[in-house]
């Protein structure tokens, strides 16, 4: 299919690998500097309370304590989004959820810092709270923030509704009238945490009116600009360095500790390190939204969808947010529908403010849609993949959220799934097979890349996107491919915010796509400069030379009889031919190209215990062009397993008191190695026309299909269908008992 590549599609070891397998890589909590203090945060034990009084004097007087801060230590922030972020990092007047920060200390040791927290006296007046999305929408529910209600929310919901969206086309009532069967179901999904293994951590160091910040983040430019605004600094005064990041999955696309650490450092005049405990991570960073949803689908007897309607209510915690739109836009994106509508409500509650989690908003919406589709297939005795193929979106389909699709890989994934031996393998008793499609938009956005040729002709590539899954490898490969040099001759590093221009955050599955385009353009600039230099050296016209496989050649015998000059030879002469050779690119590439996937899973449900075992799992996904297939597979496998956890185990459990009851890995159980089989993968490559190499983002789509695929498999294995996630053993047992 088209272009032949030399390096793309191979699987070289990642450039940052040795550090990571020898324990040398420095993550957020791994940096220590001379004179460093340790910060600690006092957090609310209440779901909702007014801070009547807050007395830090005894803490401040404790020997070894160098700074204590509260909301009073921050100036008011004009920008509404950044003001909310500050108020999430440090409560102002009220605590809004269990775990909400209200004071922080910096001390000479962790133990002194903890002792100081115990000396802070707080008087609370508890206020009514609400943690459930449906309860929070009811008129009369405790309102988290007055005056934030969305203009289109309507009169029949509470002021906690901060977003209302609807998407779609056609006339759904007319569509439902054409159906032979109409099925409507209601679903609930629990909030899940990204579950990155590295707790949030940073080290802030003020020097006069400037500061350095070392931080585990997906976006150090984002951190810089939010923190600078909150601290009243200019962005150029704050240099942020992205540590190696121990997982993010969207969870590290905002700030929690960083403004606090900076404020403590400014007050103490010393570097301050802050590291969250796992309990703090669960209680006070952003999990994803929980949801309550209704989905109605009409189908003809032969499996054609005549109309589809979804109503999505997302719970996103204690501050305004806008996420349900992505659920509403993605819910029916996989299908070519004449009559479709998806509505969504964003709702505030007394929970930590949500933050993105891998394809934010899509997994739950698509779970509900794919579960109703599956139940229709059961009722109409139709093959689930046949029905999806019959209705699948394709190039030219007007999507349920508006745009007409370019070339997409959904049908290719469905056909590959149909043809795969997994789909026709025999099943035993208490076993069931489920399938689901999945979708994610993928984004482009702002990017900066600087490519410097060293005097020996090797390449230093500096980019601005923290590497959360091997992107330094894929970016180095694209540089090597474009230049026609070996992979080993490219060294890619993530620059600090002072090194190169702005880059958007590592999110939206955008890095390989966006940094890739920037890298290719920087490499083209390098090649053009090399050609110019060599033409001068050879004293021939600039258009009489060309770049082939890492060297400048004369375009033909007419141009002159010169032996090719390699990049190394050109670089060695750079000092005499005009100085250093470099290329760079700053821009905002769009055309990221949407991504589809299809998963097949076999489960076995134990009728005695309700325990679900994953027997076999196969993931199919359109990667456009897989630059480093091992890491593409890794994204598919990792996403699938996060989805398995969400489907079967993971949930935020709140008591009547609004306090989180399972803030640790023992009680919030993410999948472990013994829970799982191998995760088989099939990479489909339908090139994205918007990228020179055909790249599509691959990071997020894979978390979308598992929820419904497993739910559908459990329904067929257990003989009863559950309409809530997670499908923990007691819930499955209860459903089987009632079924």
């Amino acid at each position: 299919m088209g272009r032949e590549f030399k390096i793309l599609g191979t699987t070289p070891p990642r450039p940052d690998g040795i550090e990571k397998i020898t324990g040398k890589a420095l993550f957020g909590a791994d940096l220590n500097v001379t004179g460093m203090l340790h910060g600690a945060v006092l957090r609310s034990p209440h779901a909702h309370a007014r801070i009547v009084s807050l007395d830090v004097s005894a803490a401040a007087a404790l020997p070894g304590v160098k700074a204590v801060i509260t909301a009073d230590d921050f100036a008011e922030v004009e920008n509404a989004a950044n003001r909310d972020t500050l108020h999430n990092c440090m409560a102002h007047g009220r605590v809004l959820y269990d775990g909400h920060a209200l004071a922080a200390v910096a001390a000479v040791s962790k133990s002194v810092a903890r002792a100081a927290l115990n000396l802070i006296r707080v008087e609370y007046e508890t206020l009514p709270h609400v943690t459930d999305v449906d309860a929070a929408m009811q008129p009369g529910a405790p309102v988290i923030h007055q005056g934030k209600k969305h203009k289109l929310a309507g009169d029949d919901v509470s002021d906690n509704v901060v977003g209302y969206y609807s998407f779609g086309h056609g006339d759904i009532e007319a569509g439902f009238a054409q159906a032979d069967t109409v099925l409507e179901r209601s679903f609930k999904t629990a909030a899940a945490h990204q579950g990155y293994i590295e707790p949030n951590a940073c080290l802030a160091d003020f020097k006069g009116d400037k500061a350095d910040l070392w931080v585990s983040t997906q976006g150090h430019y984002l951190v810089r600009d939010i923190c600078a605004d909150i601290l009243g600094m200019e962005s150029s005064q704050l240099r942020v360095t992205a540590a190696e990041i121990g997982g993010g999955f969207g969870g590290k696309t905002t700030v929690f500790l960083e403004p606090v650490a900076l404020a403590l450092s400014r007050k103490a005049g010393k570097p301050v390190k802050m590291v969250m405990s796992r309990e703090e991570v669960f209680r006070a960073t952003g999990p994803t939204m929980s949801s309550s949803m209704d989905v109605k689908i009409g189908m003809t007897a032969d499996g054609r969808i005549t109309a589809a309607h979804a109503r999505l209510r997302y719970q996103g915690g204690a501050f305004p947010y806008a996420m349900v739109m992505m659920g509403a836009m993605s819910a029916f994106a996989a299908y070519d529908l004449d009559h479709v509508q998806a509505e969504g409500w964003d709702v505030m509650t007394n929970r930590p403010k949500m933050i993105s989690y891998r394809a934010p908003g899509a997994p739950m919406a698509i779970y509900a849609v794919e579960a109703v589709l599956d139940e229709l297939c059961q009722k109409l005795d139709l093959d689930p993949l046949e029905v999806r193929l019959l209705n699948a979106a394709d190039e030219g389909t007007k999507s349920s959220y508006g745009p007409t699709f370019k070339a997409i890989g959904l049908k290719a994934c469905l056909k590959a799934a149909q043809a795969h031996p997994h789909y026709s393998a025999p099943l035993g008793p208490n076993q069931g097979r489920g399938v689901s499609a999945g979708f994610w938009f993928n984004f482009g956005g702002q990017v900066s890349v600087s490519m410097a040729i060293t005097p020996d002709g090797t390449v230093n590539l500096t980019e601005g996107n923290p590497d959360i899954g091997g992107s330094r490898a894929s970016v180095s490969m694209m540089a090597a491919e474009e230049l026609g040099i070996p992979f080993e001759q490219v060294n890619t590093v993530i620059g600090d915010t002072g090194a190169i221009g702005f880059s958007d955050t590592t999110d939206g599955s955008r890095v390989t796509f966006t940094v890739g385009i920037a890298t290719i353009k920087a490499a083209k600039a390098v090649k053009a400069e090399c050609c110019k230099r060599v033409a001068k050296i050879w004293e021939i016209d600039a258009d009489a030379v060309e770049w082939i496989d890492g060297a400048v050649h004369p375009t033909g015998h007419n141009a002159g009889d010169f032996p090719p000059m390699s990049l190394a030879e050109i670089a060695a002469m750079a000092g005499r031919t005009g100085g250093p050779i470099a290329g760079h690119f700053e821009g905002a590439p769009d055309k990221a190209g949407v991504s589809f996937g299809v998963h097949i899973v076999d489960t076995q449900v134990d009728p005695e215990t309700g325990f679900t075992k994953i027997l076999r799992y196969t993931a199919f996904q359109d990667a456009g062009k897989a630059i480093h297939p091992d890491y593409v597979e890794g994204q598919m496998q990792g996403g699938a397993v996060q989805g398995i956890g969400w489907a079967l185990n993971e949930e935020y459990i709140y008591g009547e008191d609004g306090v989180l009851q399972n803030a640790g890995f023992l009680d919030y159980r993410i999948p472990v190695a013994s829970d799982l089989p191998m995760i088989d993968t099939v990479i489909i490559e339908v090139p994205n026309p918007g990228h020179p190499f055909g790249v599509r983002g691959v990071g997020e789509t894979a978390i979308v299909p598992p929820l419904a695929a497993i739910s559908n498999a459990v329904a067929r294995a257990a003989g009863v269908r559950l309409y809530a996630l997670p499908m923990s053993p007691p819930r499955i047992l209860a459903a089987m008992d009632h079924g």
């Binding site: 203009k151 289109l152 209302y164 969206y165 609807s166 998407f167 779609g168 086309h169 990204q194 999955f249 969207g250 969870g251 696309t253 806008a322 739109m325 992505m326 836009m329 509508q341 509505e343 993105s356 989690y357 891998r358 394809a359 934010p360 959220y401 508006g402 745009p403 007409t404 699709f405 370019k406 994610w440 938009f441 993928n442 984004f443 482009g444 956005g445 999110d507 939206g508 599955s509 955008r510 905002a588 769009d590 055309k591 990221a592 918007g690 990071g699 997020e700």
Partner: protein, 81 residues
């Protein structure tokens, strides 16, 4: 002139119209013309929108050309994980 498709909940501000016609040759002109013709859209445009132009989604790209026969869809500004 370009036809712009407005998402469902915003059609309250376009007298219920799913598609509206505005005079524009770039993204910026299009957004300005939309808000001028339908002031109710101003809040959402300020809060952030993307434009899908002929099947490609553009975020904050003011100077993207729009042809008279382009398919233009107004979309909210999205984020990823």
């Amino acid at each position: 002139m370009a036809d712009v498709t407005i998402w469902g909940s915003l059609r309250r501000y376009t007298d219920g119209a799913e598609t509206v016609e505005v005079a524009a040759s770039t993204s910026r002109e299009l957004l300005e013309a939309l808000v001028a013709a339908y002031p109710g859209l101003a809040d959402q445009v300020a809060a952030g929108v993307s434009l899908s132009i002929d099947g490609e989604v553009y975020k904050d790209a003011w100077f993207t050309p729009i042809n008279p026969d382009s398919e233009v869809i107004l979309m909210p500004l999205m984020v990823g994980g």
